[in-house]
Assembly symmetry: C2
Homo-oligomer: 333 residues x 2
């Protein structure tokens, strides 16, 4: 029987069971594990669901079953465009399996990492997908002890907390450095947001050059404005600057704009390389050379690793290197 239009408390499974004339647990199974229930009963229960307007309470189900069907997704900050394709695909892939993402932001603050992680753990997530590597060893250890599947992303490590989907930041830096040297550029500069992964790329780049490289550091998150500032700073310090390696495409775009504003031709007067292959990189004028990272793949793979663990499947490859690729475009051609 349909319930009155308002006021009354939301229907519980108990109400559904009564309306369907079956026991509580049969109603539960009809909805959650229909394979073991007769077709007729399922139909009756589903009618009762319609009639009562029942919406399950996953908090209660999760408490008993110990599966919350939530996955914590932790990023430095949502506004860092870099990670969005990953988080979007992570969310979509999980949603298709009935899992939701609980969002956490560390603000690039190591002290907050622990707080955010503990907050997330208190919600009993079935998995944790972390952007970057968890820095504090004590936190890593405690995280491991929870037994919650953890996927660190966007970096590489021999000893992740649990699982990992990423690539070698150092290799990226070396590859770009090698590429720059092959181009014959001697007077080069780095524009970087200075987050842990960007610093690893800087180190790799310098390793390729075999020496320290003039660097303009800007605050994270990087954006176009800071890219403009970075180029201004680099030009002031290194007048004959030939090429700039940037820690993000946003920063690179700022370098491009500043070069344009100063009447520098790209790439003739100044070459520029970004990082990330943001959606706009290919379509700038000149188009932006960059390092392609498959962000959606990171999100999808992280989701799949978590889901596999949730299903109790063995994970053959707990460490996935998604690699990277230098995409040469107009800004360095």
């Amino acid at each position: 029987m349909p319930r009155p239009p308002s006021a009354s408390k939301p229907a519980t499974l108990h109400d559904v069971a009564r309306a369907a004339g079956v026991s509580l647990i049969t109603a539960s199974r009809a909805l959650g594990n229909p394979a073991v229930v007769s077709a007729k009963t399922i139909a009756r229960v589903q009618d009762a669901v319609q009639a009562t307007g029942y919406i399950p309470n996953l908090l209660a189900g999760g408490l008993k079953s110990k599966r919350s069907r939530m996955v914590a997704g932790i990023v430095p900050a949502l506004a860092v465009a870099q990670f969005l394709p990953s988080v979007q695909t992570l969310t979509e892939t999980l949603a298709a399996e009935g899992y939701q993402v609980l969002l956490g932001q560390t603000g690039y603050d190591l002290a907050r990492e622990e707080v955010v992680l503990n907050t997330m753990i208190s919600r009993q997530p079935d998995g944790i997908v972390f952007t970057g590597l968890v820095q504090d060893p004590a936190v890593r250890e405690r995280l491991r002890r929870t037994g919650i599947p953890v996927v660190e992303t966007w970096d590489l490590s021999d000893a992740p907390v649990d699982m990992l989907v990423g690539f070698s930041q150092d290799s990226v830096g070396r590859a770009v450095g090698t590429y720059f040297r092959a181009k014959g550029w001697q007077r080069v500069g780095i524009a970087t947001a200075g987050d842990p992964r960007a610093l690893l790329r800087k180190a790799g780049f310098e390793a390729a050059y075999g020496c320290a490289v003039p660097t303009a550091s800007v605050a994270a998150p990087s954006n176009l404005e800071r890219g403009r500032q970075a180029l201004a700073e680099l030009l002031a310090r290194q007048p004959g600057l030939q090429a700039v390696c940037c820690s993000s495409d946003q920063l690179a775009q700022g370098v491009l704009v500043e070069a344009q504003a100063r009447g520098l031709r790209v790439p003739q007067d100044l070459a520029v390389c970004g990082f990330g292959n943001a959606d706009f990189a290919a379509h700038l004028w000149p188009s932006l050379s960059t390092v392609l990272i498959d962000g959606p793949a990171i999100g999808r793979l992280a989701a799949q690793l978590v889901l596999a663990r949730c299903r109790g499947e063995a994970v053959a490859q707990p460490i996935v290197d998604v690699g990277f690729r230098i995409v040469e475009r107009g800004s360095t051609a």
Copy 2:
């Protein structure tokens, strides 16, 4: 007594209470409502928390208390840069009060709105913050009946589901149209992603002109590439094009780049106006005129409305118009 380093099941409040030599409920109060517990007891309980490594189970707490301390945040897609500052600030503001955001993506798909909302409701959120207005009247009504505080955002309506933080899309369109006309531009075009809100702005713009305006529609989410395509399309249809009104700064940036690639000077040959005041708008070259929307304010206000409701406070102003402002920069100066 500290528990062995691994394997053992996570400590519950029961373990804490035993370690502290108090009853379960006293331990609960010491952590959740310390005002009614003696200082000595609180200290004992906190020591026990340390010793046991206790992390509360908010699923269990939420089940009994009917306060999950989660808020559903629903966006068309995370990768729509437009909404990120709102979601970021929403998440931060809520986190400061111990609330987490559960992420939902509708993919600009009306059919998914209902599915996503029901999924969220099943997690018993203490509030729902929805980007845009919920479209389906039946869904609106059912949402209202749940009694969950709902904040619709980024639009205006006399009859929101519950609460609202936004601005009038129509007014934005009219204001930009009026501005364009005052500049004397007759041969104008619109580049739009065609989402519901962008269409309202288009209608407002055309109302200001008193006639239909040539429009290039691109798929959402809008980005630089589609902005370039849009300008190409508009130029093909309207050779003497003087000015373009874009539904996002990303699109406007594409128009800027395409103009540059074609040797059109901005604003002399072609004026361009964006929407949103993205972080890069002020720093492009030429700088991009746009409509400033205070995204962080929308997120913060939405969070505050939800929090007020959670505390049982009366909300004096359930409809907040955050307004907008045309920012004139180089691209229309």
